[in-house]
């Protein structure tokens, strides 16, 4: 056990930084300028207590987190890779109809797992605690056109910090759809349902373009250099993705005369993953019962208020274990927004505790089966296509 210690690095005390409070840290007591209507009945002390209760839930999970969680994500990654190679291999002989169906199904499942239960959650840093560079938010890249780093910025930082704050969280409609009545109606919004229907099968491209933050560039909040850099990264990534799915795989399949079928297979698998991801993600914040917030509501927000906003701005999906897995546990959207970086396999055990807290504090806890939640978001897409009724 030899550690060579360098004794030459002696300290030089040339700059002393004065003590100061932490920027960005939320106060544990106090109140925002305005508390959201759904939480208006709570006193400052109640909100502070709610914050402490939720902190305790998180601490409990962090204390339990260990070898079984590590085994879970490694098993998931193994299953995903096995599905991926078997799916792709089966597509190589997809001239046979059965092989086409089997290969496309396996590859679709692989892509959904890769994107949701693995990619989304690894990129959130849920597994960083393992200190495994192979499963880490700083090294992971996913099977999705948008580069992981670009997505981490708009999603982990902007969306999760500003959840449902209209004007700050661009995930409210993704700069494309009118998804909240407080967003000003324009004739363009008449196409809401059409845009959403077109978006679903090419959802990964919607996200890739969204992550470029073109509006910020137009408004002068993003430099040209930064945009060019992002465009280059996206170009390289998209080229690799296209080559794999639409050139290399069909090219190898041509050896068995299955080139065209393999191409249809990978196209279908990507579309299936996109439609599913679109549906699940729209169920996160758009179904009936979820709230949006104004900037006054986050001004002076305390730790407890931040938790409240995450809970009443998000919606869960109820269903079987398999359904939770296929949504990457985003079916526990409320719990995910409270604790974005606890391992996804732990959300299910946190959920009843969070639901109990919501009940006790008189806060809404929105959940429902997937068909109901999807129906609810589509209803909103249609409803908000039309201008608000004049009073």
């Amino acid at each position: 056990m030899a550690i060579v210690i360098n004794h030459e690095a002696e300290s030089t005390e040339d700059a002393v930084v004065p003590a100061k409070t932490r920027r960005g840290a939320l106060a544990t007591s106090g109140s925002p300028l305005v508390r959201p209507p759904a939480a208006a009945h709570l006193s400052d002390e109640q909100v502070a207590e709610l914050g402490r209760e939720l902190d305790a839930i998180k601490d409990d999970i962090l204390a339990k987190r260990g070898a079984s969680d590590a085994a879970y994500i490694r098993r998931m990654i193994k299953i995903q890779r096995a599905l991926e190679i078997s799916g792709r291999a089966t597509l190589l002989v997809s001239r046979n109809k059965g092989a086409w169906v089997a290969g496309t199904t396996l590859l679709s499942l692989a892509k959904i797992l890769e994107n949701m239960e693995i990619g989304h959650n690894v990129l959130h840093g849920q597994w960083d605690w393992m200190r495994d560079p192979d499963i880490h938010s700083t090294t992971w890249e996913w099977d999705f056109v948008t580069p992981a780093r670009a997505w981490q910025h708009t999603h982990n930082d902007l969306h999760h910090r500003w959840t449902n704050v209209v004007g700050r969280d661009n995930d409210v409609g993704y700069n494309l759809l009118r998804m909240d009545p407080s967003q000003e109606w324009k004739p363009f919004n008449l196409g809401n349902p059409l845009y959403n229907a077109i978006l679903a099968p090419v959802f990964e491209w919607g996200i890739a373009i969204y992550d470029l933050e073109l509006q910020d560039f137009k408004d002068g909040n993003k430099s040209k250099e930064a945009l060019v850099k992002d465009l280059k990264a996206l170009g390289v990534k998209a080229l690799k993705q296209f080559t794999k799915d639409y050139a290399a795989t069909p090219a190898v399949a041509m050896l068995t005369g299955s080139g065209k079928q393999a191409l249809y297979g990978t196209l279908t698998a990507n579309a299936v993953r996109n439609v599913w991801a679109h549906a699940v993600i729209f169920c996160g914040h758009f179904p009936d019962g979820t709230d949006t917030f104004t900037e006054e509501m986050v001004e002076g927000e305390t730790r407890g208020d931040w938790y409240v906003r995450q809970m009443i701005g998000s919606a869960n999906i109820s269903g079987s274990k398999f359904m939770h897995l296929m949504t990457g546990n985003l079916s526990h959207q409320i719990e995910h927004h409270l604790f974005p970086d606890i391992p996804s396999n732990r959300y299910a055990e946190v959920a009843p505790k969070v639901q109990e807290i919501c009940k006790r504090y008189g806060l809404p806890y929105t959940t429902g089966p997937i068909w109901k939640q999807v129906g609810s978001t589509w209803a909103k897409v249609f409803k908000l296509a039309l201008p608000p009724k004049k009073a």
Partner: protein, 374 residues
């Protein structure tokens, strides 16, 4: 090899964004695109609380020189921990580490390692190696400090008839003495190697406060290149003896030859001739909650920080280009590798830190001196 690499690049067209190694790791755990690994091939118990672990490293490992050490990563309850261990196998043979159970990580290695287990690795390094040209050698070791020296003895003694090695190894009792039998056998077999087993349980520590003990154990010690590896106090004492002898030699020389300096003179003992390998069970620096000197290594900046300011702010105020995001500990955009020291999580008060760990600078403050790799 080159053909393999070309093949891998061709295959990556089909595996992107993964590397072909990521797929191959389904079948053989040694494969990894970014992490050197080894598979344990054999575990040999040395004493009641030490064991030698032989492993077969994956691609990317480089052969070790006798006396070098390697960082070894082990998982404890799902979390990877890294420690440095000296390699005890001779140069040119498959690597092996000899580990003594002195803490959580070494305990797991000694007790729970089985053939087939995967170890995470970093290539061997260290300057505690044999001299380039043959010289008479004196090895002073204590406890598990024998480990790197064992590699040197195994490399040199059986293969170099011109070698001249004297080893004085301290251990508490014969039962605690790692490699005792093998060392005695080597000494019987090869006249160029002499070993003294010094049991501190019976005789106390080797007395380095004056040259007397060494004069008796190895009369020509001043003419030998000396290597020492052992606990802190042992090395400090040895270092002090060598410094004192160097001063005596310089004084004698000064009176004999005026201002001129002859390092090759009859009293050649000086600290340069004592090569030291320090080992500790953990990095001693950085306990406590009171802030400390923060070193941004790649940016070459040093700043004194208090125990309540996030390292992100400390870095930004010092003009370091720190990665940042939410500034509230949720988005993991600010992760920065820790090189040394400990940090305090400002949310929980927990003090933690291991070299190589990625820390969230927006919610971590210095708990003692901290080195960051940025």
């Amino acid at each position: 090899m080159i053909r393999l690499r070309k093949l891998a690049r061709a295959a990556s067209v089909l595996t992107t964004p993964l590397a072909p190694e990521d797929i191959l790791s389904l079948f053989n755990p040694v494969f990894s695109a970014r992490q050197l690994r080894g598979v344990v091939t054999r575990v040999v118990a040395e004493t009641a609380d030490s064991a030698t672990i032989f492993f077969r490293p994956g691609r990317g490992w480089k052969a070790h020189q006798a006396g070098q050490w390697a960082r070894i990563g082990v998982e404890l309850d799902g979390v990877r921990h890294w420690r440095s261990y000296s390699l005890s196998a001779p140069a040119g043979q498959d690597p092996a580490i000899t580990v003594t159970d002195v803490g959580a990580v070494s305990g797991v290695l000694v007790r729970d390692t089985r053939p087939g287990d995967v170890l995470f690795l970093a290539p061997p390094q260290g300057d505690f190696v044999l001299p380039e040209h043959p010289r008479p050698l004196l090895m002073l070791t204590a406890g598990s400090g024998i480990t790197p020296v064992m590699s040197m003895v195994r490399t040199l003694v059986p293969h170099r008839p011109d070698a001249d090695v004297v080893l004085i190894h301290s251990a508490r009792t014969p039962q605690d003495s790692i490699f005792r039998e093998e060392l005695s056998e080597l000494a019987d077999q090869f006249p160029n190697f002499k070993v003294t087993h010094w049991f501190t349980g019976e005789r106390g520590r080797v007395d380095f406060s004056s040259p007397a003990a060494l004069d008796e154990l190895c009369p020509d010690w001043r003419h030998r290149a000396a290597y020492a590896c052992g606990p802190e106090g042992y090395l400090d004492d040895a270092e002090a003896l060598w410094s004192a002898e160097a001063a005596v030699a310089a004084a004698a020389e000064g009176s004999a030859a005026g201002e001129s300096h002859h390092p090759e003179g009859p009293f050649a003992a000086d600290p340069i001739n004592l090569i030291i390998e320090r080992f500790t069970t953990s990095l001693a620096a950085g306990a406590g909650h009171d802030g400390g000197l923060v070193t941004f290594e790649a940016s070459d900046r040093e700043v004194e920080a208090d125990g309540s300011t996030p390292l992100l702010d400390v870095g930004e105020d010092a003009g370091v280009l720190m990665p940042s995001g939410c500034r509230m500990g949720i988005c993991h955009s600010c992760l920065t590798p820790l090189r040394a020291g400990h940090v305090r999580d400002l949310r929980t008060g927990e003090v933690h830190g291991e070299p190589g760990q990625l820390i969230q600078t927006c919610v971590s403050a210095a708990a003692g001196p901290v080195n960051l790799d940025i």
